[in-house]
């Protein structure tokens, strides 16, 4: 039934059922006020694969529309927007992944794989320090907190710089693929009005707010918990990133070498961010594990948990390193922290993190569409 059906993968393709569900929703429209998905849906009379990929990435899986739905099971129409959209989203993550062969990581990146990756990377770094002739277990803590005696700055910066460039490229390519799939031009993406509107939605988590009432997550009762834990996670991550940028500027622009004092900008930013990245992910994990299985895609628990666990571990090991940098375990903690951070970054383009890219891009598209006239969508 899809308007561009050539690629349909059969009855098990969530896009096929997604189209059927959207046709039901578009004839009902009672959920119009819940989030961006339904107004975006109402601009259409038919739903192509690209439309469904877009709508699914606008959905933040709160379940509100499902609890309200008069067509959810046991009704024979069997409508379940959040669950089907979660499945479609997972499919889009694989479809837009770059380089394409690594898309397979999405299906395997559970907690175990992440932990194995952390162990491998830690061991690799231990090996590197040995090759470089450095001893990880220093007898004395002297000079205090100097990370570079375990791993030279050029090595650390070089390796992480390369990882960062690769991750940025992979995420950027994913975005481009999504944006093209929606049929939008890159020139449209840079329109300031749409960017501003989407940025405001993202930074305030507009649609997790439920117009003040919160979201039906993890269960049917509304709460702001997910929004606040997400805020802590997001801004925690941003602060940690800012700490790294500040440190880089200190190093290259001013020639100020680490370690930095407890009240220095990089350490204050990193500490605050680290605290956010402990509380936020812990809260999100608790909510995720208690979330209603009826509204989610059980196949994605592994991916979600792995990302949350790596964020938490990166923060925990970072704060431990800060606290114990003047002791004899400094070297060991350093390689563990670096291993965790590298595992986190390497899995960014192939895990839950990409939701941030695609949801933000979908919100830009939503803002763009709002400025366009509605053609033929039952609004006479």
């Amino acid at each position: 039934m899809l308007a561009d059906d050539k690629l349909a993968e059969g009855a098990h393709d969530p896009l096929v059922d997604g189209e059927r569900i959207m046709r039901i929703c578009n004839a009902c429209r009672y959920c119009e006020g819940y989030c961006a998905v339904f107004p975006a849906m109402e601009r259409r009379l038919q739903f192509t694969r690209s439309d469904l990929n877009y709508l699914a990435n606008l959905c933040h899986n709160c379940g509100e529309c499902h609890y309200a739905c008069q067509y959810s099971p046991p009704h024979e129409f069997d409508v379940n927007v959040p669950k089907r959209f979660a499945e479609i989203r997972a499919q889009t993550y694989r479809r837009y992944a770059w380089p394409a062969p690594l898309a397979a990581m999405f299906t395997r990146n559970g907690l175990a794989v992440s932990l194995v990756l952390v162990v491998i990377l830690v061991l690799a770094m231990v090996a590197a320090t040995l090759v470089l002739g450095k001893s990880l277990v220093a007898a004395t803590a002297d000079p205090a907190g100097d990370f570079y005696r375990f791993m030279p700055h050029e090595v650390m910066a070089g390796v992480f710089g390369a990882v960062f460039v690769f991750v940025a490229l992979a995420l950027g390519m994913g975005f481009v693929r999504f944006w093209r799939d929606m049929g939008e031009s890159l020139a449209q993406f840079t329109r300031p009005d749409a960017l501003r509107s989407a940025l405001s939605d993202v930074l305030r988590l507009e649609y997790l707010d439920g117009k003040g009432a919160g979201c039906t997550y993890p269960g049917e009762e509304r709460s702001q918990a997910r929004r606040w834990f997400h805020h802590l996670t997001f801004y925690g991550f941003a602060l940690c990133f800012a700490a790294t940028v500040a440190g880089t500027i200190y190093h290259y622009a001013f020639g100020w070498k680490a370690p930095y004092g407890y009240l220095s900008l990089p350490v204050v930013l990193g500490t605050l961010g680290g605290i956010g990245l402990l509380i936020g992910p812990a809260g999100l994990l608790r909510l995720r594990l208690r979330s209603d299985p009826a509204t989610g895609d059980a196949g994605q628990v592994g991916m979600d948990v792995a990302f949350i666990a790596l964020l938490f571990a990166a923060s925990l090991t970072g704060l431990a390193l800060l606290a114990l940098r003047d002791t004899s375990v400094c070297g060991l903690l350093l390689v563990i922290h670096l291993g965790v951070v590298m595992a986190l970054f390497l899995t960014l383009p192939y895990g839950k993190f990409v939701h941030g890219i695609y949801r933000s891009a979908a919100l830009v598209r939503y803002a763009l569409e709002k400025t366009r006239p509605i053609a033929n969508a039952g609004l006479d």
């Binding site: 004839a27 009902c28 006020g33 109402e42 008069q70 009432a213 049917e220 039952g378 609004l379």
Partner: protein, 409 residues
């Protein structure tokens, strides 16, 4: 009603206008006292609903002309009921699911106890007061057949299969005074492919005004351009019910695409009227002749679906008085229509305190009714969009309050 714009309604909808609308659609078949009470009390309903957690939203996209007269709650009817159940739970009210009232003991106009079947187990529950809000009998196909004859076989029921009218029947048998004509109901024209029960809102087809409607024999039978959606919505179910085999077919051309709320079922489609008629199993020549005659009768005008425009036919019987444009731009689309019964009006008589009136003429002091089971007091016939909700909310509040007052005495 509202005398000034509110958060959820635009402009004003004064009592006189609201009451006038009701008077018109019911053809005067309404209890004036109860009708005025309903209209007046509706003004305080949205705030009361909000207090219990119900949320509202602006008029839905595609529902033209309703922002002034109809408040839409967010999420639809199930979301509304979810909020009420949650509120009841917070208040510590016990709710029994999968339970049905089998019989009521009423002595001399005083309710004594109810016989209830809970999970198959019969229990007697006594109470100082009882509010019945158990709906009409729209899902009771046998009862519908008693009223309508074999035509009822072709009706679709838009809501739950559980509205069997059992409590209504018990009340009438136990001496409650009944009110209303059993053939009167709120019925809309819905897609004939809808399930027998519970197809709900998505099965409605509203492109009647944009094209033409023919019956089984390929003949037009009513002015498709008579009025706007709220009025049209309320009458077309009954119109289809009165046609042979209780079926009709709405035919539009490509000019109408995108101008009406999409239906959940894809339309039949053909590049010719002949092709469409044969897909719809209609007499092809008849339909072709009907379309030709219609197209020839269309007078020139400026099409505007937002007003009662001057596009009309001349020389047809019946005429199409607004929005008439030739059906000549292929592809052509068709939807089969059936009467979709929303709720029936036959019910029990009540007074302004929602007391059930017994056939002796006196009110049952501890027995109250709200919703569809008493809607026939106010709706003798016809319908106003959203009015079932209004009656339910207004009389639900009255019945609850009066039952509490009675119980405290």
């Amino acid at each position: 009603m509202h005398d000034a714009p509110t958060e959820v309604l635009t402009d004003t909808y004064p009592e006189e206008e609201y009451y006038g609308d009701l008077w018109r659609v019911t053809g005067g078949q309404t209890d004036a006292g109860l009708a005025r009470l309903t209209v007046r009390s509706s003004a305080t309903c949205t705030q009361w609903m909000k207090d219990y957690g119900v949320r509202f939203q602006p008029a839905l996209g595609g529902t033209l002309h309703l922002g002034r007269t109809n408040a839409f709650f967010l999420g639809g009817g199930k979301a509304l009921i979810n909020e009420y159940y949650a509120a009841a739970q917070r208040l510590g009210i016990e709710v029994h699911y999968d339970a049905e009232v089998v019989d009521l003991a009423i002595d001399d106009g005083v309710f004594q106890h109810a016989l209830v079947s809970i999970g198959g187990e019969k229990r007697e529950i006594s109470a100082t007061a009882l509010v019945v809000a158990s709906g009409g009998f729209e899902s009771n196909l046998e009862w519908l057949k008693e009223a309508w004859g074999d035509a009822a076989d072709n009706f679709l029921i838009r809501g739950t299969p559980y509205n069997l009218g059992k409590v209504l029947k018990v009340l009438i048998e136990r001496g409650a005074d009944k009110i209303g004509d059993p053939t009167q109901c709120h019925a809309v024209a819905i897609d004939a492919r809808a399930p027998k029960f519970d197809g709900g809102i998505v099965t409605r087809v509203d492109c009647v005004s944009l094209g033409m409607v023919v019956n089984r024999d390929g003949e037009r039978f009513y002015d498709e351009g008579e009025d706007f959606w709220p009025k049209r919505y309320a009458i077309w179910g009954r119109l289809v019910a009165q046609q042979p085999d209780q079926i009709a077919y709405t035919i539009i051309d490509s000019k109408a695409v995108g101008r009406f709320m999409p239906s959940v079922f894809p339309p039949f489609r053909s590049d010719s009227i002949e092709g469409l008629a044969s897909q719809l199993n209609l007499p092809v020549e008849r339909v072709v002749a009907t379309v030709r005659a219609f197209n020839q009768a269309v007078r020139p005008g400026a099409f505007d679906h937002a007003v009662l425009d001057d596009c009309r036919t001349q020389g047809l019987s019946p005429e199409k008085t607004h929005w008439a444009r030739a059906i000549d731009a292929p592809p052509y689309y068709g939807y089969p229509l059936r009467p979709g019964i929303t709720f029936t009006y036959l019910g029990v008589k009540v007074n302004e305190k929602a007391n059930v009136i017994m056939s002796s003429g006196s009110p049952a002091k501890n027995l109250f009714a709200a919703g569809e089971i008493m809607a026939g007091n106010i709706l003798g016939q016809g319908y106003l969009a959203g009015f079932g909700m209004t009656i339910g909310t207004v009389f639900g509040r009255i019945a609850g309050r009066e039952a509490a007052v009675h119980a405290r005495r």
